[in-house]
């Protein structure tokens, strides 16, 4: 199997640092820049969620090459992350009952749905707020971008998608799955976007006028419904236009997961460095259906998938094929995450990773269906300013049964979410619908 594949991406930050971009900084961004680089007395923490679709099997996690908590070996799928192994914390066998038979946890995973009834349309509709948004409400409330969400999708025609992030029940949050769209929304002040911005303002103004005109013909209740259009439009507009920060060169039009994810991760690193947000969510093909798994073209070369032309999900193709596909896919993702981590702590520059925790996981737990619900696993990189005991640890819990009564030693995904929230400055004691199956933060993970 060939694991020497390297993407031919063009990294923004390699050629365009803050200095080069400073010419484009507006007053707000300058202020944000200053805050992010020491003018502010307290350092804000960052959290980055990177979720890969369809399972992170034990083998690729490194299990069972572990003799105790600190003696274990990274599997080749995660080998690119080796430089950060000592700042890594791996946890396996956390429980979360989803009660759904889909390929991924959909919204249920990050909404911390403690248990399902087997019929809840998880993935089709969010049942509650996802953890990234809860944290963002606390730590990103005064940043231009509450949370920077993006991802990739199998379909190269798609520009937006909603799969795993939600601000509340039945309130999915869309995210761009095109690098060019993320660029356009994050850097509307770029020169090439100016004409578009002017036109956008005219469109917005006209819709406002039309809504007001039509509202006058409606009774109060219907006016309210029409009003939601305006509210959503304004929220959308804020998200697009508030982020006046760096303006790197326009992204290339190259399409596909392999070409676009690195560029989007670069933009995420810019957003964190500029203080545009403190919360990043990246969905690598996550979602509820069978159709969103990214087709990786490039990493397939020299592998058993070469004739097929891509590496996909392959959950139905037998254990061996599935395992090979996961190794290749996670190897590719690990390379991209490693490049992202390097952006956060450039050689000779200030380390942003010091105040950050990157959470790498799969929306399908251990396998593409995750029916066992007792073995979700996560890789944490970075200790969020010393709040987490990472130190190269590998914790394997006993594996709870999600539908059994909560015990003092129950270790659930919801408890991990509480732990992470506390670590980055948004303390909570319970998470999930009704605080389902939460023992509060996990003390053994906190410093």
């Amino acid at each position: 199997m060939n694991h020497n594949y390297r993407s031919s991406r063009r990294r923004f930050l390699a050629s365009l640092g803050l200095g080069a971009g400073a010419a484009f900084l507006g007053p707000i961004a300058t202020s944000l820049h200053q805050r992010a680089y020491g003018a502010e007395p307290t350092r804000r923490k960052n959290i980055v969620f990177i979720a890969m679709s369809a399972g992170l099997p034990d083998l690729q996690l490194g299990w069972p090459s572990r003799t105790d908590e600190t003696h274990w070996e990274l599997h080749e799928a995660l080998a690119p992350l080796a430089p950060w192994k000592e700042r890594m914390l791996v946890v396996r066998n956390l429980s979360l009952g989803l009660g759904a038979m889909q390929h991924s946890g959909g919204y249920g995973l990050m909404a911390g749905l403690g248990a399902g009834d087997g019929e809840t349309p998880l993935g089709n509709a969010p049942q509650g707020q996802t953890i990234d948004q809860l944290i963002a409400e606390q730590i990103s409330r005064d940043t231009p971008v509450r949370s920077l969400l993006f991802g990739i999708d199998q379909s190269e025609a798609k520009v937006m998608h909603q799969t795993i992030f939600a601000s509340g029940r039945d309130q999915p949050l869309p995210h761009p799955v095109r690098a060019s769209k993320l660029y356009e929304s994050l850097f509307p002040g770029a020169a090439e976007n100016q004409a578009h911005a002017q036109a956008d303002r005219r469109v917005m103004a006209r819709i406002h006028r039309d809504v007001e005109r039509l509202s006058r013909r409606l009774a109060a209740e219907e006016r309210g419904r029409l009003g939601t259009y305006l509210e959503s439009l304004e929220a959308f507009d804020r998200r697009r236009s508030a982020a006046q920060c760096l303006a790197p060169n326009a992204v290339s039009e190259a399409r596909g997961a392999v070409a676009e994810l690195p560029v989007m991760l670069d933009m995420a690193s810019i957003a964190l460095r500029c203080g545009l947000t403190h919360v990043v969510g990246c969905s690598v093909g996550c979602g509820n259906s069978h159709f969103h798994f990214p087709h990786l073209v490039g990493p397939h070369l020299g592998t058993r998938f070469e004739a097929q032309g891509f590496v996909g999900e392959h959950g139905h193709d037998g254990e061996e094929v599935y395992s090979d596909a996961r190794t290749i896919s996670f190897r590719w993702l690990s390379q991209e995450v490693a490049a992202f981590l390097r952006q956060l702590e450039p050689a000779g520059g200030e380390s942003l990773l010091r105040d950050t925790v990157v959470v790498l996981y799969s929306d399908g737990g251990h396998a593409h269906h995750n029916l066992e619900e007792g073995n979700w696993r996560f890789i944490l990189i970075g200790d969020a300013g010393g709040a987490l005991q990472t130190d190269g640890r590998f914790l394997s819990y006993r594996g709870d049964v999600p539908w059994e009564p909560l015990r003092p030693d129950t270790r659930s995904v919801n408890s991990l979410w509480c732990t992470l929230a506390q670590a980055v400055g948004a303390p909570i004691d319970a998470f999930g619908i009704g605080g389902a199956r939460t023992n509060g933060p996990l003390p053994e993970l906190l410093s």
Binding site: G97, G99, M101, Q102, G114, A115, G116, D117, G118, T120, P121, N124, A125, Q127, A157, K158, V159, M160, Q162, D170, Q171, P172, L173, P174, K181, A195, Q198, A199, R202, V203, R206, I207, D210, V211, L214, R216, R217, L218, A219, E221, E222, R225, L226, T228, Y229, S232, L233, A235, F236, R239, H316, G318, H369, L371, P402, W403, I433, G434, A436, R437
Partner: protein, 553 residues
């Protein structure tokens, strides 16, 4: 009864009904189900009141078909509404978990997701449409300024195609001023692009208005509403002309157009859509069967098998006894890829063939439905029973409390039914299970792949059960065929069928004041020889639809 006389009866019924009604048909049951959720009881059944003035958000399909009309013109026949010259993701495809039918989305709030998708789609469509008018439209921007008389007809065409109504003179002049304003800031091409985006994002396009005036809905509101409800498209040429000529002013004239659009019911996308949603046989696509253990399970093909049968039933029975046929037909469609699931021994072609199978009794005994209402590797008596309770009897069953995930483990020699019965005897479980399980036992004649079975896990299958809340006395049944016969004839099931039609085509639950109308429609259905199309027609000639209150012209 002819379509014409049915319509007149419908109009008469909907405007002159009085009497005592209840939320559900009277039951002679001595042990009424606790799960039945009767609709509000009204003291008198008055004529349907005018509905509220409101706006209805487009569906994704309406959006797509309207864009097809933008590019292709209104003379396109419904079936010709194919792909547009531009690829885009139609907004409003997201369904709320609480919505019973996709059509409920018309009253859903516009979310940030919707705005995002609308915004992206508008940009793509504007770019592509601009290409089709660029040369002519740019000639309206001479160096001396915007030539309004040149741009006006181009603008009028776009508005008519997108909004399904002509622009009023003051609206047209307002939009021309908008373009002039844009042109003062932007290049002409960008100003035109902006104009098309504006027209695609204005609420006049994204929402259908049902506001009307003193005479009820305007002719164009009627045309757009009827077309959307029946064809998921803008008005076709004939309906547009009828609206233009003022021929849609009476309920009878609206009824005539409704009948015209339903002349070939098998081509009616919404009737197909309704049956897909109410019968939910495509649920099979979401139930995963291990392909290594069940390599011959082909859910997509099974769903298409059932669709083939439904298309025949629509064509032959939409005017009489469609529900009865759906619940009792022995017509099946089998192809070589699915014959094992059907348990058919005979040779069949890859393309498929219609057969009669006396062991099957209606769509709910097709492998598509049976597998859709099964688990990964066993039947799901409870879900199947719940389906009957909720979809055919319009009852309700409470959802499981959060945190409660009962698992029923099978042991050798014990059937799933036997294990379920043990579980259901638990006092905590009995109240809900007794309203579902007895309705689901009939389907144990088939395994979780839809194949006939006589043994389950080493124990003989037992397909006996009991039906309640039928609107007649409770009855025992021995097997699925008997159960379906009882259901097909039950007054409560027929009323529920009408209620489901009401919900789907009106796009919301019946309100307390609309309960009367549901009762009248149920009577119409019975009196018309179980004519499903007559019920649909009546929904759109009712004063509750044609007349509105609470809006301003």
């Amino acid at each position: 009864m002819s379509g014409r006389s049915t319509l007149l009866s419908a109009v008469a019924l909907l405007t002159a009904c009085e009497g005592q009604i209840g939320g559900s048909l009277p039951s002679t049951s001595t042990n009424p189900s606790p799960s039945a959720s009767p609709a509000p009881r009204l003291e008198t059944c008055a004529a349907p009141a005018p509905g509220p003035a409101r706006i209805v958000r487009l569906s994704a399909e309406e959006y797509r078909s309207t864009i097809a009309v933008l590019f292709g013109g209104r003379s396109l026949r419904l079936l010709e509404l194919g792909p547009t010259p531009v690829q885009f993701t139609a907004p409003f495809s997201y369904a709320r978990s609480s919505d019973r039918y996709s059509t409920y989305g018309g009253l859903a709030p516009v979310t940030e997701v919707d705005v995002d998708e609308s915004w992206q789609a508008a940009a793509l469509i504007a770019e592509a449409y601009l290409e089709t008018i660029k040369e002519r439209a740019l000639s309206c921007f001479p160096p001396t300024g915007l030539d309004r008389s040149c741009l006006a007809p181009i603008l009028s065409t776009i508005i008519e195609r997108l909004w399904s109504r002509p622009a009023a003179p003051d609206e047209l002049s307002g939009w021309l001023e908008e373009v002039a304003g844009s042109a003062s800031e932007l290049e002409p091409l960008e100003a035109l692009r902006t104009l098309i985006r504006q027209l695609l994002l204005t609420p006049d396009f994204l929402f259908r208005t049902e506001i009307g005036g003193p005479g009820g809905l305007t002719p164009f509101e009627r045309a757009r509403g009827v077309a959307a409800a029946l064809t998921q498209s803008p008005p076709d040429d004939a309906l547009w002309r009828a609206a233009q000529s003022g021929a849609l002013s009476s309920p009878q004239s609206v009824g005539a157009e409704v009948r015209r659009l339903m002349a070939s019911p098998e081509e009616l996308p919404t009737l197909r859509g309704f049956l897909n949603e109410v019968l939910d046989f495509r649920a099979t696509l979401g139930v995963v069967k291990d392909p290594t253990r069940f390599p011959k399970h082909k859910p997509g093909a099974l769903a298409e098998d059932t669709q083939q049968v439904l298309d025949v039933l629509i064509k032959e029975h939409a005017r009489s006894g469609l529900l009865r046929e759906i619940l009792s037909t022995d017509l099946i469609f089998v192809r070589s890829a699915t014959k094992e699931s059907w348990g058919v021994q005979a040779e069949v072609t890859a393309e498929g063939v219609f057969l009669r199978d006396a062991s099957r009794s209606g769509i709910l005994t097709h492998p598509a439905w049976l597998t859709g209402y099964s688990e990964n590797d066993h039947n799901h008596i409870v879900r199947r029973g719940r389906f009957i309770r909720e979809r055919l009897l319009c009852g309700s069953v409470p959802s499981l409390p959060i945190g409660m995930v009962p698992r029923i483990e099978q042991t050798a020699g014990t059937s799933y039914r036997q294990k379920l019965e043990q579980h259901s005897r638990d006092p905590n479980c009995f109240a809900c299970h007794r309203s579902m399980d007895p309705l689901g036992f009939a389907f144990e004649a088939w395994d979780h792949l839809g194949r006939p079975q006589e043994m389950d896990n080493g124990a003989p299958v037992d397909t006996r059960g009991r039906l309640d809340s039928l609107g007649t006395a409770d009855v025992d049944y021995a097997n699925a065929k008997q159960m379906m016969e009882h259901l097909a004839s039950a007054p409560a099931v027929q009323e529920c069928w009408v209620r489901q039609l009401f919900r789907y085509y009106r796009g919301h639950e019946a309100t307390a004041t609309e309960e009367c109308e549901v009762k009248q429609l149920a009577k119409l259905y019975a009196d018309s020889g179980e004519d499903t199309l007559a019920v649909i027609e009546a929904l759109f000639v009712s004063p509750a639809y044609l007349e509105r209150q609470g809006g301003a012209p």
